[in-house]
Symmetry: C2
Subunit: 251 residues, 2 copies
C-alpha cells in the first residue's frame, strides 16, 4: 500500500489534489489507516494516470468522473466534441494573433497615441467573441447530446461502422500509390458516397469536421492597415531565402 506522499513522488500529483479528488469521489483511496491516513494501491495509480491524461486533453473533472464511472460511456461523442472545440479554439487564437501583430505594428507607426491605434483596429475586429465568451459548454450536456445521437459511432460494431473502418484500412494500404491512384480514388469515392447516403444530417460530425479542416483561407480583410499580415509573411519568407543563400556561401 502506498502512502499519499509516495503517490506524489511517483506521479507528481500534489497531496491537496489527491484530497480534492477524494472529496469529489473521483478517486478514492484503496483504504485508510485506523488514524484516517489515505492508502493507495496499484489500480488507483493507473486510474490517476488516466485522469491526468484526460485532463491534459482538456476535459473537466466532472466529465472525467462520468467517463470513468459509467461503464458504457460514449467516448467517441465526447472526444468528437472536444476535437471540434480544440480546432475552433485554434482558429480563434490565430485571429487574435493577427490582431496582436497588427496592433504592435500600428502602435509602432502611430507613436504614442495607442488609443488611436486601438480604435482603428476595433473596426476590423468587430463581432469577434471574447475569449471566455466562447468557452466550451459541458461535454455532458444532456440537452445537446441528442445532436450527437445521429452521428455514426465508429466505436460501435454495427455494419456501418465496420465498413468505415474497412475503408480506412484499405486506404492505409494503398497510401504509397500516390494521391491519384485508381484504387485510392475509388475508396475515397466510396467514402463520399456513404457520406451522402445517410443524407438527413446524420453525418453532421464528419461534415463539420471536414468543412473546418478543408475550408480555404478565410476571406482576408487585409491591406487595411499599414503593415499587414501580407508583409509579415513576406518578411518571413524572405528571411528563409536569405538564410538559404547564406548557407550556400558557407558550402
Amino acid at each position: 500500500m502506498l502512502h499519499i506522499h509516495d503517490v506524489k513522488k511517483l506521479t507528481g500529483v500534489t497531496v491537496r489534489t489527491l484530497r480534492h479528488y477524494d472529496q469529489l469521489d473521483l478517486l478514492k483511496p484503496a483504504a485508510k489507516t485506523e488514524g484516517g491516513h489515505r492508502l493507495y494501491g496499484e489500480s488507483e495509480l493507473k486510474k490517476l494516470q488516466q485522469i491526468q491524461f484526460l485532463k491534459q486533453i482538456g476535459f473537466s473533472l466532472g466529465d472525467i468522473k462520468s467517463m470513468l464511472q459509467e461503464a458504457n460511456w460514449e467516448w467517441t461523442d465526447s472526444i468528437k466534441k472536444q476535437l471540434i472545440y480544440v480546432i475552433e479554439e485554434q482558429q480563434h487564437l490565430h485571429q487574435t494573433e493577427i490582431l496582436l501583430q497588427e496592433l504592435l505594428n500600428s502602435i509602432a507607426l502611430e507613436g504614442q497615441n495607442h488609443l488611436e491605434a486601438i480604435r482603428k483596429l476595433m473596426l476590423l475586429s468587430d463581432g469577434e467573441k471574447t475569449m471566455q465568451d466562447r468557452y466550451k459548454e459541458k461535454v455532458f450536456d444532456q440537452q445537446q447530446m441528442h445532436l450527437l445521437d445521429r452521428v455514426p459511432r465508429m466505436a460501435g460494431h454495427d455494419s456501418d461502422s465496420l465498413e468505415w473502418i474497412g475503408l480506412i484500412g484499405q486506404l492505409k494500404q494503398h497510401m504509397d500509390k500516390g494521391l491519384s491512384d485508381n484504387r485510392v480514388q475509388q475508396i475515397i469515392r466510396r467514402m463520399d458516397e456513404k457520406r451522402s447516403e445517410q443524407f438527413e444530417g446524420e453525418d453532421v460530425f464528419l461534415d463539420k469536421l471536414w468543412e473546418i479542416r478543408l475550408s480555404p483561407e478565410d476571406s482576408e480583410k487585409m491591406g487595411l492597415y499599414p503593415i499587414d499580415q501580407e508583409l509579415l509573411h513576406f518578411m518571413e519568407d524572405a528571411y528563409v531565402v536569405f538564410l538559404q543563400s547564406k548557407q550556400k556561401e558557407q558550402d
Copy 2:
C-alpha cells in the same frame, strides 16, 4: 446621459458586468442620480469599447485597468508577451488535436476497451503540461518585467527604433520585386545584422518570436499508432484531389 440599460443595448454589455467594472474601479459611471442609479456618458462608452477590445485579445481586467490608468504604460511589452503566449497556446492546442485524433482512431480499432487505447496514447504524450498548468502568468508581473527591459522598444523614437521602422518601410516598398530581389535581400541582411549587433541577449523578443514562427515541423513521433496523422493528411489531400476531378467531370 445614458441610462445603464441604454449602455447595454448599445454595447451588449450586461448590467451585472457594468456593476462589476464599477466595483473594480475599472469603469466608473459619469454620474449618479440622487437615488443612486448609474449614468454614463460618451467617453465612458468609448472606454468601455476599449475594454471590450483588450479583453478580446486576452488581457485580464487587472491588466486592462493598469493599461488604461497608468498614462505611460509600456504597451508594447504587454502586447509582445501576449503575442508569445497566444502563439505558444496554438501549438499546444495543435498537439492536443493530434492526440484527440489518434485517440478517436485507436478507440475505433481497439473496440470497447478504451482503457487500452488511452494507455497506449499516454506513452506518447508524456511530459506534456495540462491545459491550465501552463496558464499565462500575469502581464503585470514585476519580477519578470526586467526581462523585457532589454527588448528594443519599437514604439519609442530612439535612433535604433527609427532604423527598424525605416527598414520595414523600405521592405514594404520593394515587396513586389519578389523574394530574391537584390534590394530586398539587402534589407533583410541589414535586419539580420542589427539583430546580431546587440548580441547580449538584448533582442530576446525577436529571437524568440522568429524561432517560434520559423521552426521546422516538430520532430514528429509519428507512425507509432495504427492510423496516424500521416494517414489523416493523406485522406484530406486525396479528398481534395477527388473533389477536383469530380468537378472536372461536371465541366
